[in-house]
């Protein structure tokens, strides 16, 4: 059985040189996470986690009794065959999230993955997310305002309802797309910003709601 790609955690091509140095994780307050937890505790929700499987996050979410789907988007993007083109299109995202037809999510944990999609990719992905979410569904996303971001997405660990641990997976950096709020809503058609928090460490947290 070899259904897990060994390339899954590797960097995408455009990220340039990757070093093995890993920086100590940082703990940051998360205002959007606190707001999201308020939502999750109300009833049993279907949650889509687009990050890698992190045991402590599963344990944290288990207290809410939600149904959690884990689909590692970055690993899927990284394991694309060379002939599949530079950009991931609608077919890729449809295949990536090929779930039972009646699957609808109430919460999507996108973490910092929007920073690792080209703008066209983000638009295509949002179309797929729109098909898989209920009206009122929330997307939790973090967008960097720094000039550079780590070459691979952070691994986020939920420390508690108000704090996230940012774990760098590589010491190498890449340019940040620096998505402005208007760009985020422009690319994510069908979603609007419900809440947004600019944090001291240069990260804008979003809770986007499906219209």
């Amino acid at each position: 059985m070899s259904w897990f790609s060994s390339r899954g955690s590797g960097p995408r091509k455009e990220q340039g040189r990757v070093q093995t140095e890993v920086v100590e994780p940082d703990v940051h307050r998360s205002l959007a996470l606190a707001a999201l937890c308020e939502e999750i505790r109300r009833r049993k929700l279907q949650v889509l986690d687009l990050g890698s499987a992190v045991g402590s996050n599963v344990e944290f979410l288990s207290q809410y009794g939600c149904k959690l789907f884990i689909e590692d988007l970055y690993a899927a993007l990284s394991s694309r065959a060379p002939g599949e083109g530079e950009l991931a299109g609608p077919n890729f995202f449809a295949e990536f999230l090929s779930l039972p037809e009646d699957t609808r999510f109430d919460v999507v944990l996108a973490w910092d993955l929007f920073d690792y999609l080209q703008r066209k990719e983000l638009a295509a992905f949002s179309e797929q997310l729109r098909n898989l979410t209920n009206r009122g569904a929330l997307i939790f996303a973090l967008v960097s305002y720094h000039k550079t971001i780590p070459a691979q997405p952070y691994r986020f660990r939920i420390k508690d309802e108000q704090h996230l641990i940012y774990e760098r997976r590589t010491g190498a950096d890449r340019p940040s797309p620096r998505l402005a709020p208007a760009e985020v809503t422009g690319l994510l058609k069908g979603f609007r910003v419900d809440r947004s928090f600019l944090l001291k460490h240069g990260i804008q947290e979003y809770l986007l709601v499906r219209e």
Binding site: E59, Y64, I70
Partner: protein
């Protein structure tokens, strides 16, 4: 001299027994701290039935004792009252039912655990997990969904949006809305 019947049990000095390691199904704490030895479920017992690495079973498995699978199984593993361990060499293409299900090998199928499902670092699951408690060790591979039963009733189905508006927390940081 008045003989008084003692209420105390007869003095005995039984062999000290180690405290049982609980396999609790209670709600976990949100802390990401690793499980201590005290509340970690048992890994193996010498009384387990074992399917060895060279064994291949095609069909349904059921029984009333704990089971360790180090070989290959295709079909269904149904040990709802007992613990099931898929060992490092275990390759299971089946739905697995158990009390505590521990995966160190590979499972292609759904896992149903009455108390807890544990995916160890070397383990991999492609399928859905249904259990009140789920533990994924870092480095483990998982693709599918995790259905965790709610530990308690959590409110009604009131309008989520209106509740959200009413309970909007005060932001102490800079708030920007597109």
């Amino acid at each position: 001299m008045v003989w008084k019947k003692s209420d105390d049990p007869p003095t005995q000095h039984p062999e000290p027994t180690p405290a049982p390691r609980p396999m609790t199904a209670s709600a976990p704490t949100p802390s990401p701290a690793p499980m201590s030895a005290a509340n970690e479920p048992p890994r193996r017992s010498s009384t387990n039935a074992t399917i060895g690495p060279s064994i291949f079973i095609k069909g349904d498995l059921s029984g009333e004792e704990d089971l360790v699978i180090e070989g290959r199984v295709e079909g269904k593993v149904d040990l709802k009252q007992n613990n099931v361990t898929i060992g490092k060499n275990g390759r299971v293409r089946a739905d697995v039912f158990g009390k505590v299900v521990i995966i160190e090998g590979e499972v292609d199928g759904n896992v149903f655990a009455r108390e807890q499902a544990i995916l160890r670092q070397a383990g991999a699951i492609r399928g859905n997990i249904t259990a009140p408690r789920v533990m994924l060790e870092d480095g483990s591979r998982f693709k599918g969904s995790i259905d965790m039963e709610a530990p308690k009733e959590t409110g009604g189905n009131a309008s989520r949006h209106s509740d959200r508006e009413a309970n909007r927390p005060e932001a102490t940081g800079v708030k920007a809305t597109a």
